[in-house]
């Protein structure tokens, strides 16, 4: 509504809402004359569809994006900090900044990549934040709004009561009420708002939240969902005192949930990050099996079988992801060319796209296969059995706790990193750095699996040190892998007769650039490693593991 005035929502069941509104009107009638709005842009029906990325990037940044249609025109409305000038008078009700962008031909049911969005203030504000993720329609709400004028004794409208009745499909949501101020009559609007706030069954919406948020929350609840309900972070609900076996199974089940949550997005090729998150979940699962598999207390051959199956799954996803990385970085790569022209790379992009289409078919066949669904089923069943077993063994003195396991396995992973890292000299072969990178990943996962058991500050310090080291190792290896791949792709293009000389030269220039970056990463390694393993880094690690886990 008007900036500075709170909105309201009705409580209770749908059956009482009409009585509650009668109560509000009766209370207002004691202070004002009341008349229906004659003709107002505020009244009428409105459909709004909220959009966000799968990992809720807008929501996490405090923003809400909706596509709204009213009077047949459609517009994207972005509310949140730094959106618009914040001063615009808005009947949609907020003191937040708001950017509005009219759009034509929008289809509310489909997903949109940032590149698909028409130019405008909303696109400009969110494009970098959401890329490369797609905006997905989360939920659609249709609302009918009626407006009642509140009059003073002269018959002048001095405030308005807006009643919005939202619904998701056939499911009615609690009606929203708001008092809109008429310019020059702020006292009357305040008075009306006080009256509404005191009416029975009316709840004042907390200000200064993003006012669309409570409606989004209610609408998602109809679908059994909640805003921010997906994150690619490991968020297992474990405690230090629970048995190691059940903690391990809980961690692995969380990873399995994340993995499965991404399958549809991969199959529909909604955006590249579904596959990325799926791969991370697979990699974490493999690391969990390796680091903690024995704690499940299931036969070794079962552990070995699952380890093998998850390796198969990881390998299945690699070719498409590698090609995605090239395509995602393509524009930056082309822009960095000096000798060659950007256009020289066009055949390379076409080749990458073709190849990706082919590899994507292989990937989707794999994800639709019996082998994949069997793996998902068996893994979940096995972990379920472990969890159920823990209940039977509850109270048994034997067996480690999750806290013991966390300290022991994190230390193990740390020892491996220290041993390998300490042995690296400027003359060490590339493989030794690649190997260190793998061990660092294992350490990182070991830390992440047990997040709830660690002290937050100590954890953040260690993770910071480790991240900087991992970034350096990643830069070193990724550039090498990319160089190798571009060489192979060049050979394949040549064999297919799809490689003009200018393209090959440009690709050569790209690899030269990658080699420079790789060397820079190599040069930075000693310093990064010292930051992790030196006195300061050791102090951080001791603070984390020294006293054991909480």
């Amino acid at each position: 509504m008007t900036p500075g005035l709170a909105g309201f929502v009705m409580s209770g069941e749908a059956s009482v809402w009409s009585d509650l509104l009668d109560g509000v009107l009766a209370a207002l009638r004691e202070a004002f004359d009341i008349a229906p709005e004659r003709d107002s842009a505020r009244a009428g029906t409105r459909r709004r569809t909220w959009y966000d990325t799968f990992d809720w990037r807008l929501y996490r940044a405090g923003m809400l994006l909706e596509y709204a249609t009213e009077h047949r025109a459609g517009e994207l409305i972005l509310t949140g900090p730094d959106c618009g000038d914040g001063s615009s008078f808005s009947m949609r009700g907020n003191a937040h900044g708001q950017a509005v962008q009219p759009v034509a031909g929008w289809r509310a049911a489909r997903s949109y990549l940032a590149a698909d969005l028409p130019d405008g203030p909303v696109t400009a504000r969110i494009a970098d934040l959401v890329s490369p993720r797609a905006l997905l329609p989360e939920v659609t709400v249709a609302s009918a709004t009626t407006v009642t004028r509140l009059l003073n004794p002269d018959g002048k409208t001095v405030a308005r009561l807006l009643v919005e009745r939202p619904a998701v499909g056939d499911e009615a949501l609690p009606p929203r009420l708001a008092i809109a101020e008429v310019r020059g009559y702020p006292g009357q609007a305040r008075r009306a708002a006080e009256i509404v706030a005191l009416a029975p069954g009316i709840v004042t919406l907390a200000a200064p939240g993003n006012p669309g948020e409570t409606l989004l929350t209610d609408a998602l609840a109809v679908l059994g969902r909640a805003a921010g309900d997906y994150s690619n972070k490991v968020s297992a609900k474990i405690t230090a005192s629970m048995p190691a076996a059940s903690a391990t199974a809980t961690i692995m089940l969380t990873l399995l949930d994340t993995l499965e949550a991404n399958v549809d997005g991969v199959l529909h090729d909604t955006d590249s990050e579904f596959l990325h998150d799926l791969r991370v979940a697979v990699r974490r699962t493999r690391a969990a099996i390796k680091l903690l598999g024995d704690a499940l207390q299931i036969p070794d051959e079962q552990v070995t079988r699952f380890a093998g199956e998850f390796k198969w799954l990881g390998d299945l996803t690699t070719p498409v992801r590698d090609l995605d990385v090239h395509l995602l970085e393509f524009d930056a790569m082309a822009a960095g060319l000096r000798a060659a022209k950007e256009d020289d790379l066009t055949p390379f992009r076409a080749f990458l796209s073709d190849r990706r289409a082919r590899e994507f078919r292989v990937l989707t066949r794999g994800l639709r296969s019996q082998r994949f669904s069997q793996l998902m089923r068996d893994w979940r069943a096995t972990l379920g059995t472990v969890l159920a077993g823990k209940k039977r063994r509850a109270g048994a003195a034997a067996g480690k706790t999750a806290g013991d396991l966390a300290t022991e396995r994190t230390r193990q992973a740390l020892r491996k990193v220290s041993r390998r890292g300490g042995a690296i000299t400027p003359d060490s072969p590339h493989e030794s750095l690649h190997d260190l990178r793998k061990r660092c990943k294992e350490l990182r996962y070991a830390l992440e699996f047990f997040v709830p058991l660690h002290d937050k500050a100590a954890y953040a310090a260690v993770l910071g040190d480790l991240k900087r080291l991992q970034d350096c190792l990643g830069e070193f290896q990724d550039n090498e892998v990319q160089i190798e791949e571009i060489r192979m792709l060049a050979a394949a293009m040549l064999a297919a007769g799809a490689a003009p000389a200018a393209t090959l030269l440009a690709m050569g220039e790209v690899t030269a650039g990658l080699a420079v970056r790789q060397q820079a990463a190599r040069d930075a390694f000693e310093k990064r490693y010292a930051g992790f393993a030196g006195p300061e880094g050791q102090r951080h690690m001791t603070a984390l593991l020294g006293g054991g886990a909480k």
């Binding site: 002269d154 409208t157 008429v182």
Partner: protein
């Protein structure tokens, strides 16, 4: 922001009625509109059911002790606000008659300038007179809309006004006159309207008929274009607004927006 003024030295020719209806139509077109009721009688304020009272009176506004912004009241219509009349406006000439002479007739224009951030259209409803107030209004306005009653004498008034405006140094407003309160049953009315709108530049093609429904405005306390949009006078005001709206612009506003 464009500033439109309804002006005539004579009273009772339909200035306020015209200002109300054109302002309402501007707002209905989506223009953020404000109407300033400069007439101490406060007819426009009465029509919008707003008390003809400004805190601190005209003095506080003219002297800059209160910004115009503080005085603005929302009307019952979307996009349409009002700066109410105040009885102290009757002394506005005295208030304007301060400071260097060459700036005395530009004061209103200066007061209006900050409104450009908030409004697309300003309507000034002037009291009937030749005074420093009206001179200020004529200087501030981009377009002066002059209601004429179809009499020979009223044509002379228009000539005088056109001449006066032509003598302005620098920017000059566009002047568009139109016939108001036209009674088609009267031969003289018909003749004057037909002759002048054909012969003379600056006279609108549209004439507003005399009609009972216009008089009902003071009962309904709303513009006729709002409460009886299908009536003949309402249609005439719409046609007049179409003529007035983009006058003096190098091309029609709609064209600029690609409409």
């Amino acid at each position: 922001m464009r500033i439109y003024a309804t002006y005539n030295i004579k009273g009772g020719v339909g200035k306020t009625t015209t200002a109300l209806n054109l302002a309402y139509l501007a707002a209905a077109d989506g223009l953020r509109t404000v109407l300033w009721d400069l007439d101490p009688q406060g007819a426009a304020s009465f029509m919008f059911r707003v008390k003809p009272k400004v805190k601190g009176g005209g003095k506080a506004i003219i002297r800059g002790q209160r910004s115009l912004d503080d005085a603005i009241k929302g009307t019952d219509f979307d996009n349409l606000d009002l700066i109410p009349a105040d009885f102290t406006y009757r002394n506005m000439d005295l208030l304007l008659d301060k400071g260097p002479e060459d700036r005395q007739n530009r004061k209103l224009g200066k007061l209006l300038a900050p409104l450009a951030q908030e409004y697309d259209a300003v309507f000034l409803d002037c009291p009937p007179s030749i005074s420093l107030v009206s001179e200020n209004v004529l200087h501030a306005a981009d377009v002066i809309v002059v209601p004429l009653i179809p009499t020979t004498l009223s044509v002379r008034t228009l000539d005088q006004l056109t001449e006066f405006v032509a003598g302005f140094r620098g920017r000059r407003p566009d002047v568009l006159a139109f016939f108001s309160m036209v009674d088609r049953r009267k031969k003289l009315h018909r003749e004057i309207v037909e002759e002048l709108s054909a012969k003379r530049d600056g006279v609108a093609r549209t004439a507003i008929p005399a009609a009972a429904v216009i008089e009902n405005m003071s009962v309904e306390r709303a513009p006729v274009t709002a409460f009886a949009p299908g009536s003949m006078p309402a249609k005439a005001y719409k046609a007049l607004w179409a003529e007035v709206r983009d006058i003096g612009l190098s091309w029609p506003r709609g064209y600029q927006h690609g409409v």
